[in-house]
C-alpha cells in the first residue's frame, strides 16, 4: 500500500476548516498525511509536528526582495516552505532559491503565466518541486480549464525533460475540496501524466520533499 501525501491544504485560521477535520477526511480518503500550507498572513498558530500533519507555509510576496525576506524568516521554522507562484519574477526567484521546497501553482491559479526551460532546470538543480494544482482544474470550466490543462501539459513536458520533482496537490480550502488519491491520478491523466508518474507525484516525491532528499547537505544540517 503506497503512502499518499497531499502537500497543499489550507486550514484554520486562513479558512474555516479545522485541521482535525481535514485530517479525518484525508485519512478516510486514504492519505498517510497532509501538509497545512496556509498563506503567510495566516499561519497555523502552534506548529503541528507529527507523522500525519506537517506545518508549512505558502509565501505570498509582491516583490523578489519581500520573497527573500520571508523565506529567510520561515526557513528552518516550518517543515515545508512553498511559494505562491504565478508571477514570472516570483517564479524565477523561487526556483533559484534552494531553501524553497515547493513552487505552488507556477502557472497561476487560472493559467495566466507559465514555466520555461530555464526555470525548470533551476528547479531540478535546487530541488524545488513543481506543483500541479488540481483545484484549478476542478474549479474552472470551458476556456479557463482548456488553458489550465494546456499549461499543465507544457509544464509536464519540461519537468520530464529536466527531471525536476513534481507533486500533485488539492489546494483544498475545506473538507469538500479534498479529493482521494485515485481521483487526483485520474485528473492528472487528463494532461498526459502516466499513472506511474502521478502515483509517484503523490507518494514518493512528497516523502522526498519532507525528508529534503533533493537538498544539498549544507542546507539540511541547519534544520
Amino acid at each position: 500500500m503506497p503512502e499518499y501525501f497531499d502537500l497543499n491544504v489550507h486550514a484554520y485560521p486562513e479558512t474555516a476548516a479545522p485541521v482535525e477535520e481535514l485530517l479525518r477526511v484525508a485519512k478516510r480518503y486514504g492519505y498517510a498525511g497532509i501538509a497545512i500550507t496556509n498563506h503567510d498572513e495566516a499561519v497555523v498558530p502552534e506548529p503541528l509536528e507529527s507523522n500525519t500533519v506537517f506545518t508549512g507555509v505558502e509565501i505570498h510576496a509582491q516583490s523578489v526582495v519581500e520573497l527573500k525576506r520571508k523565506i529567510k524568516r520561515y526557513w528552518g521554522n516550518v517543515a515545508l516552505v512553498a511559494v505562491h507562484g504565478g508571477d514570472d519574477k516570483i517564479n524565477r526567484a523561487a526556483v533559484e532559491n534552494p531553501k524553497v521546497d515547493i513552487l505552488a501553482h507556477p502557472c497561476g491559479e487560472k493559467g495566466e503565466s507559465g514555466l520555461n526551460h530555464v526555470l525548470v532546470r533551476y528547479a531540478a538543480d535546487n530541488g524545488v518541486a513543481i506543483d500541479f494544482n488540481m483545484n484549478a482544474l476542478i474549479r474552472s470550466r470551458r476556456g479557463d480549464r482548456a488553458r489550465v490543462i494546456g499549461k499543465m501539459r507544457d509544464n509536464l513536458k519540461l519537468v520530464r525533460k529536466y527531471n525536476a520533482p513534481m507533486i500533485l496537490t488539492s489546494h483544498a480550502h475545506s473538507i469538500y475540496d479534498l479529493r482521494a488519491p485515485r481521483e487526483l491520478i485520474a485528473l492528472a491523466t487528463l494532461f498526459g501524466m502516466t499513472k506511474e508518474e502521478a502515483t509517484s507525484a503523490l507518494c514518493d516525491t512528497p516523502q522526498g520533499i519532507l525528508e529534503k532528499r533533493w537538498k544539498k547537505e549544507r542546507d539540511v544540517e541547519v534544520l
Binding site: 481521483e183 485520474a186 485528473l187
Partner: protein, 129 residues
C-alpha cells in the same frame, strides 16, 4: 394465442450474452454541505462529463445511477454522507472518475465525491467489507 406471441417476442428481444455491453459498477460516496437530491446530482454529473469530454465522450460512458441513499447513523458533525452505485461502460471508468472528481458544487452546496471501489456486478460493488 396472444400469450404465445408474448413468449416468442420476449425470447426474440432477449439480447444475446455475447452482444451485451460490458459494464462496471462504481460505489461512490458523496460528502455534502446539505442533502443532495438524486436528480440534482445526476444533472451535475452529466454537466461535468459533457464539459470534460463533450457529447461524444458522454455518450460512450453509458452512465446510469443504480442506487442512492443517505447514510443515517452518523454521530459526527454536520456534513451529510450519501453512498450510491453508478453504472458505466467497462472501459470508461477512469473518465467517469475524473468527471466525478471535477464536481465541486451541486446547486451552490459544496460537495466532494470519491469512488470507493469498482466491480463488474452490482452485488460486488455494494457488498459490505
Amino acid at each position: 394465442m396472444t400469450a404465445d406471441i408474448g413468449i416468442i417476442m420476449s425470447v426474440l428481444l432477449y439480447l444475446l450474452p455475447s452482444l451485451r455491453e460490458r459494464r462496471r459498477y462504481l460505489l461512490f460516496e458523496l460528502m455534502g454541505e446539505r442533502e443532495i437530491d438524486k436528480r440534482e446530482l445526476m444533472k451535475e454529473i452529466w454537466n461535468s462529463i459533457y464539459s470534460l469530454y463533450g457529447d461524444v465522450g458522454a455518450s460512450e460512458s453509458k452512465l446510469w445511477l443504480i442506487k442512492y441513499h443517505r447514510l443515517e447513523d452518523r454521530k459526527e458533525e454536520e456534513s451529510t454522507l450519501i453512498v450510491g452505485v453508478l453504472r458505466c461502460a467497462h472501459n470508461k471508468v477512469e473518465e467517469v472518475r475524473a468527471s466525478l472528481a471535477c464536481i465541486h458544487t451541486v446547486n451552490d452546496a459544496r460537495v466532494g465525491i470519491r469512488v470507493i471501489r469498482t466491480s463488474g456486478s452490482i452485488k460486488g460493488a455494494s457488498r459490505r467489507r
